[in-house]
Amino acid sequence: MTDFLLELRSEEIPARMQAGARAELEKLFRAQLSAAGLEAGDLTIWSTPRRLALIARDLPEATAAVSEELKGPRSSAPPQALEGFLRKTGLRQDQLEDRDGVYFAVIDKPGRATAEVLAEAIPAIVRAFAWPKSMRWGKESASSESLRWVRPLSGIVAIFGEELVPCEIGGIASGFATRGHRFHCPGEITIGSAADYAEKLRACHVIVDHEERQAIVRDGAAKAAADAGLTLVEDEGLVIENAGLTEWPVPLLGRFDEAFLEVPPEVIQLTARVNQKYFVVNGADGKLANGFVCTANIDAKDGGAEIVAGNRKVLAARLSDARFFWEQDQKKTLAQHAEKLANITFHEKLGTVADKVGRVAKLAEWLASEGIVPNCDPALARQAAELAKADLVTEMVGEFPELQGLMGGYYARAEGLDDAVADAIRDHYKPVGQGDDVPIAPVTVAVALADKLDTACAFFRIGEAPTGSKDPFALRRSALGLLALIQRNNLRLPMNGAIEKHMLRVKTDFAVSHGQSALALVDFFADRLKIQQRENGVRHDLIDAVFVLGGDGDIIPLLARVKTLQAFMATEDGTNLLAGYKRAANILKQAGEVSGTAAATPPTDADAALLAALDAAEPAASAAVAEERFTDAMAALASLRAPIDAFFDGVMVNDPDETIRAYRLGLLSRFTGAVHGVADFSKIEG
């Protein structure tokens, strides 16, 4: 059993692609070996910016010899059949075995040396390697067929045991030589085997194990901060990125001018993280402090003083830009910024962002004044909606689009606007995804809901509903956000009417009528709600049983009813009632059109008992439903269980007497009707 080492060296591989590259290398290596009949077994895969490495342990020296047996034609078959079989197997007739009148070819395949398999596998892996983006380079790139790699491929080390696995691709031949750290040890170093690879590189200032480098960045950055009495703001994404940018990571703490702290902390953190890949730190008070941690790739001769000074200067320039934006943006009010929204196209068929803002403002105001969002001042809702998108045209959001909302919130507060307005501007994009906070502040809820509902209406109005896997405007996510807002805040929104009304506000030349698009959107929301409920463990048949009843699109009572129904169906009363319902429905179905006059009075006591139960249960159930006391409604239905069971036990519905039969069918019809008043039991499984 022998270990195999493969190193693919390249010019700097983007940090964000390294994890994917490791997975790709493993996948392709296993596939190549398994095609040759070898099990790859235990693999170690490492990456640095300049190399991908793979160590496969305990590979056999050769693949196993296999003997393949092929059944041929009968010996009595016409000669053409035999000739065909010989051609196929490459054998002569005397090499075939005749077993009871049937030819068999036995082909022995000797095992292949594993080294040989590997020598073929390496070029195949390199050629098949899928990078997110790849390129051509060098003089070979004069041809369209030249090798593609993420950046120029510069060397291959392939050693099986202690022997070279000779292979060549794109003019690069495998060898024992690799290179150490670009600056500390740029010369060639010779690798003996998989066993000394990592240690030899370590001696040449390369830590090839990405997880080890990540640990150095993570712990080193935390320690650098702690040594200065600060706390690192953890950021695993930055840990991985910095480990992917270095072969010898050295975290270093630097300071920036305290005066920059007047800029919002999110801006400082984003500037440091996105532009410079620095960590930020908190002071003892838990607030952002004027420090940063950068990760160098060398053990600098001066301990890193020059590096820190240089990075500090770059960060200062970035932060002055940010402060410039911060000050510049505040020279205008948000209302003044918002004027520019008239120049920004929202969608070519839907006009400008200003048009959208106008619609959202009307809708938010209506949600507040109708009391749909309770305790919400309509004027504040309107104001917040009118200003919510203003930060899109500020310098800061132009520079950092991910700060949309947040900056508007800061600017609103700095302007002295009502806190509720500032909060609404800040949070109106929420909830952004599952697990995100759902707003509860009334003004925020009104604006967030109006914004999402308007987006959905607008795109449905121009026929841009999501189809299959295509959802270019993220309407499904937006719908989920809207449903979460309604549910979290128990909002009583008659969605159907609201949609129809709002659709009229969307001005477009597009051909879909507003009525049609409103219907499509109502269906879309119902679908999203069903999917959301199903994911939360609600039985889909119970959802159907309630949803089929329709309504005005107010989802709160709908969901309450489903929930109560699910609880009811888990009781014995529930299951028995369902059995009774199914029996009644079957009989009614078989009976078809009921003919003849029904008897005027209950023919038996069992009939009378059911009649009495229905007389009591029907008004009780419908009153309970009307008042959304769904537990009471279920209890009213439960009161029918004993009488219906007794009815089926005691009487024959299809009595020979037509008037009795008609009477009983009438009773059953009332019974199913009463049940339907609460939920359509025909949709329930079981």
Partner: protein, 327 residues
């Protein structure tokens, strides 16, 4: 933590180590012009023809036809030059220490890209006094794309202690055509590098030239501060937009005429002109967000048309000289 790993290593590095950079502690850093002269002699010694700046207003060294047109086709091409670059919207009336509406790029094109391009580049940094064991040099992913040239490439921005000092690109396409073979492009931001080497915080404080005898040193501000003030004002406030619009249209027409007349080099000049006028119109704030994409597409069409005409005019010669070469 670093020491821990060094001790843990049982084997020692046997490689030769990096050639020592001349210890610059007691040496005055290069002036702006000496930095340029040093780069010139560095790249000249590596076989580059040292060209002069193109005599038109352009936004970057990449617009020089020595890059745009010459990166197409099979012929080897190794050149280096300084290109004054104009970015009207970056003007700050001389009041920002880092931003200029006119600055210099140092551009190197090596076609086909040599296998040791990174090493050659790092050698040039050492030549102008950057010690890679004192400063943190990093290659950080940066995919380059020029929508107005219909060009893209893969490479990095090179960081020195966190500052981007060079754009390093392997051209994949130019004017919508595959680069065969691929050219390596190095674009040094000269002012940034000089600020770094001279350790100054304000671009106008850079030493442009050194004092010699009775002749005093000249600062970058001596040369360019007034230019920044006047051109920022002209770019943002004064330039007559009707004239600019008319100029754009005229350049567009002339470019098409030149393409039709099979003089692609002249056509490309007009594409450059249109591109710069578009930049000025942007600075004047008269191009709306919606119109912007449309103008960029028009410039791209001119650049692509010029590249295509250039290829058409040369391909017979190229295929005769390089049998087997195809577009």
């Amino acid at each position: 933590m670093r020491r821990r790993w060094a001790n843990a290593a049982a084997i020692f590095c046997t490689c030769e180590g990096i050639p020592a950079v001349a210890d610059g502690a007691d040496k005055t850093p290069l002036s702006f012009q000496d930095m340029i002269l040093t780069l010139h002699s560095y790249w000249s010694a590596r076989g580059c023809a040292i060209l002069q700046p193109y005599d038109m207003r352009v936004g970057a060294g990449t617009f020089h036809p020595a890059t745009t047109l010459r990166s197409l086709g099979p012929e080897p091409w190794n050149v280096a030059y300084v290109q004054p670059s104009r970015r009207p919207t970056d003007g700050r009336y001389g009041e920002n220490p880092n931003r200029l509406q006119h600055y210099y790029q140092y551009q190197v094109i090596l076609k086909p890209s040599p296998a040791d391009l990174q090493e050659q580049y790092l050698g040039s940094l050492a030549a102008i006094g950057i010690d890679p064991l004192l400063h943190d040099i990093r290659f950080v992913e940066d995919d380059w794309e020029s929508p107005t040239l219909g060009a893209w490439g893969l490479g990095w921005e090179v960081w020195c202690d966190g500052m981007e000092v060079t754009q390093f690109t392997y051209f994949q396409q130019m004017g919508g055509f595959d680069c065969k073979p691929v050219a390596g492009e190095l674009t040094y931001g000269l002012e940034r590098l000089a600020m770094y080497i001279q350790n100054v915080d304000n671009v106008y404080d850079l030493r442009f030239s050194d004092a010699v005898g009775d002749v005093a040193a000249v600062s970058y501000g001596d040369v360019f501060l007034e230019n920044e003030r006047q051109f920022s004002k002209w770019n943002f406030e004064v330039a007559d937009t009707d004239t600019l619009f008319a100029g754009f249209k005229a350049a567009e027409e002339e470019c098409k005429r030149a393409i039709a007349a099979n003089v692609p080099l002249a056509a490309y000049d007009q594409a450059i002109e249109a591109s710069h006028l578009f930049n000025l119109l942007q600075a004047r704030g008269v191009i709306s967000v919606q119109e912007r994409a449309n103008y960029m597409a028009r410039v791209r069409d001119l650049a692509k048309g010029s590249c295509k005409a250039w290829i058409d005019s040369q391909s017979e010669r190229w295929t005769a000289k390089y049998p087997g070469w195809t577009l």
